[in-house]
């Protein structure tokens, strides 16, 4: 689905590489997490593979289409949700999605079907005919997501997709990602949320200072899942035992399994009865 080989990018006035010799592959049916600190090169990589930024060397193939040699073919297979979810705010939600559907040459029947399905899912029926400028942060993100799915892309690229979203919307997007890969497509997303990556991704990669420093399976690999945070902190050179323990215990509290919660609840009730 996505094949990146030796990707190297240096900004014109910079003295260091933003991305250096990065290679990875995302296969059909998998969710791929892309991790790294701020400024590690995640967004630059995503901008290169979506065609926003030109790059110095390497190749990027999307469903067999080279982004440089056949950009139209590559872009037709891809949907991209940016981190700032910028969209044409003077258009209404419906106008915007219809515009994107026109650009991706989606048939009328298909676009109406997909549009109605997602508008209902994200509960945007009331807002759909108002200008996007009147939408809240989360609503803009939702309309942006709908526009990226209207042409049913094989590769769905999301840059920090959960920022600023309500829990309901996060749950919907997670479900959408899972549905997307279940159809034989692929999802590539960057995130700072290690817990989400652990729970959702089949594989992930960690970039640091523009270089790919780790690459591993998460699906059916409990050891890697368990060690993800420590691995991330150590690889990115930010490991500090005190901080890591705080982070890990906080995360454990957030993701405490239901059974454990029930146990605790039971203990409390028992104590109260006593």
């Amino acid at each position: 689905m996505l094949k990146v080989e030796g990707l190297t990018k240096k900004y014109p006035k910079s003295d260091r590489y933003s991305v250096k010799d990065i290679s990875f592959e995302v296969k059909a049916g998998e969710i791929f997490g892309f991790l790294g600190q701020n400024g590690a090169g995640k967004s630059t990589t995503i901008k290169c593979l979506t065609g926003i930024l030109p790059f110095d060397s390497g190749t990027i193939e999307i469903c067999g289409h080279d982004i440089v040699k056949d950009p139209i073919g590559a872009k037709l297979e891809m949907g991209y949700v940016p981190d700032n979810h910028s969209v044409y705010e003077k258009l209404t939600g419906r106008e915007y999605v219809n515009y994107v559907a026109d650009i991706y040459r989606v048939s009328k029947e298909k676009r109406v079907e997909i549009y109605n399905q997602y508008i209902e899912l994200f509960k945007l029926q009331e807002a759909q005919d108002k200008q996007i400028k009147s939408y809240s942060h989360g609503m803009k993100q939702k309309i942006c997501i709908i526009s990226t799915l209207v042409h049913e892309p094989k590769l769905w690229v999301l840059d920090e997709p959960m920022i600023g979203l309500d829990p309901q919307a996060i749950a919907e997007i997670i479900a959408l990602m899972k549905q997307h890969v279940a159809k034989g497509n692929a999802v590539f997303f960057s995130s700072h949320n290690l817990d989400l990556v652990k729970r959702l991704c089949d594989r992930c990669a960690i970039v640091n200072k523009g270089e790919m420093v780790d690459f591993f399976d998460l699906k059916d690999n409990e050891e890697n899942k368990k060690n993800l945070e420590e691995r991330f902190f150590k690889i990115t050179g930010t490991y500090e035992e005190r901080l890591f323990k705080d982070y890990a215990s906080q995360e454990l509290a957030d993701v405490r399994p239901e059974s454990e919660e029930a146990e605790t609840k039971g203990d409390v009730e028992e104590n109260e009865t006593k």
Binding site: P54, N84, Q131, K133, S134
Partner: protein
Amino acid sequence: MKQSKISASSLKALIKLDIRGRFGSRKDISSKDIVSRIFNILFSVVIYGIVVFGIYELTNIFVKRSGLGYEWLVMVTGITMVLATIISIITVMKNLYMNGDNELLLQFPVTSAEILVSKSIYCFIHNVAICYILILPFYVSFGIVAGSAGFTISKGYYAEVLVDIFLISLIPFSLANILAVPVMMVVNKLKNKHLLMLIILIVLLVGAFVAYMEVIRMILRYFQSESVSIFSPQMIDNYKKFGSIAYPFKWYANMLSGTILAGLSTKDIGLSFLYVALVTIGLLVAGFFVTVKLYYKTILWGIEGTKESFKLKTRMSVHSQFEASLRREFLLIYRSFNYSFQYLAMAVAAPIMVYYCNNLAVEFGSASVGPKIVPGLSLLVIIIFSTMIVSFAATTISREGSEFYLTKIIPMKYSTQVISKFVLYSVVAVISVTLSTLAIGLAFGPNAKRPLIGLADIFAIWGISEMITMALTCLSVWADVKSPTFNVSGDGEMVKANKNLAIALFVGIIVAVGYGVFAIIFNYIKLPVGDIYLIDGINDVYIGLTIASILILAASVCLLFVKLDKRYTQIVP
């Protein structure tokens, strides 16, 4: 948060922040910026010098030649006060109510009173400076001219001028503070009614332009014949009548020249000062209360208003990529107050403006040098106005702002996207130029009351203007592809016009003047090369300009479209 508390340190910090935001940090200025600033200042000084010279000449006409010194003072005081009030209202609206930083500033530990005072200080200084820039040349010219005409003008007069202008400046500032709130209400009410807004803008634009042209026409007619028009005995009576009843403007004129021209007693002048003081204090107090009472509410309303939207149910209809791109570009312009004014209102108003402008130029040009001037003048005027329309295309990439990335990720060739933009801008300009030529044809063509040009002239003017219009569109888009500046405000509109707009205007005006002057000169004289005449008559001029236009158009098309995809790829948002 206490809304009325004002602390000196907060005020100082806010003013400092405002100055930094407005003029940038002094440390960041590059040598290129310094050169550009010096050039801008020199250019402004030259333009101001020309205007001051014009004011001096007008003062001469009214004071020395027509003996209407007092009436002249009353009139210029009135006109400049109205102008200063309009400018002040715009400044107050922009800075106090429409500025995108209000939302940010309200989050700081400062009171709304401190924000208001810090911004009002800027508005006040701006208003005082505008009043001096506008009024000083009139009053100083008056002193010089009246002195040379035998009136006693002491040095004290010029000191009095400075005080008088300061007092005048308080009126526009107070009025602006009172009127800005209702104007903001109207603007907020209308901002989602795009068609109505566009119509109002067109009417205002055309109205102001026609009024301006009529004033120029009257002045020019005076030069032709002093016995008619603006200095006819009837008009002089009207001026005198106006001078006697034009309150409050005449109070300022009384204070300034009461003893010199109007023969007023010290008591009358003192009374004028008293009236001025009372009106000024009254307006200042009213302005103060209106602003203090409504400022916080209005900015909150404005912040909430930015989220207001119309509701428009559309169908999910299918369009081609090209059509969708064209439609999107148009809607983004149409639904923006600023862009509608800059582009659509201008394109619609241009034919009417061309008609008036050309009519005036031809009336006086043909009277002084003959009717052969008409084709050249028409070309000059049409190309200048088409330049004003198509120069908007020089911001077409920059206006994408934070949505520019969308143009990069969509499966549509960059060149096709640029062509869709080019088509929109050139089609609108081509229609506007066609209507402009039609207006000229109706005014001076074979079927006009005073036919000065033939059908062939009309076709030639139209063809040449259209080719240049398309070439200028290409050049404008090319300039923005080469160097876009994604400088947008919170609502996604450009903060200010970028340098590409200035470049496009400059090139267009050069071409317009070049074509106009060439056509005028060689319609009168022949161009010999050896034994033959290379240019002999207007038809040869047309042939020459047509060839030049084809070459310019071809070069512009090549400049824009050759390796366009490669250049577009290099644009980094």
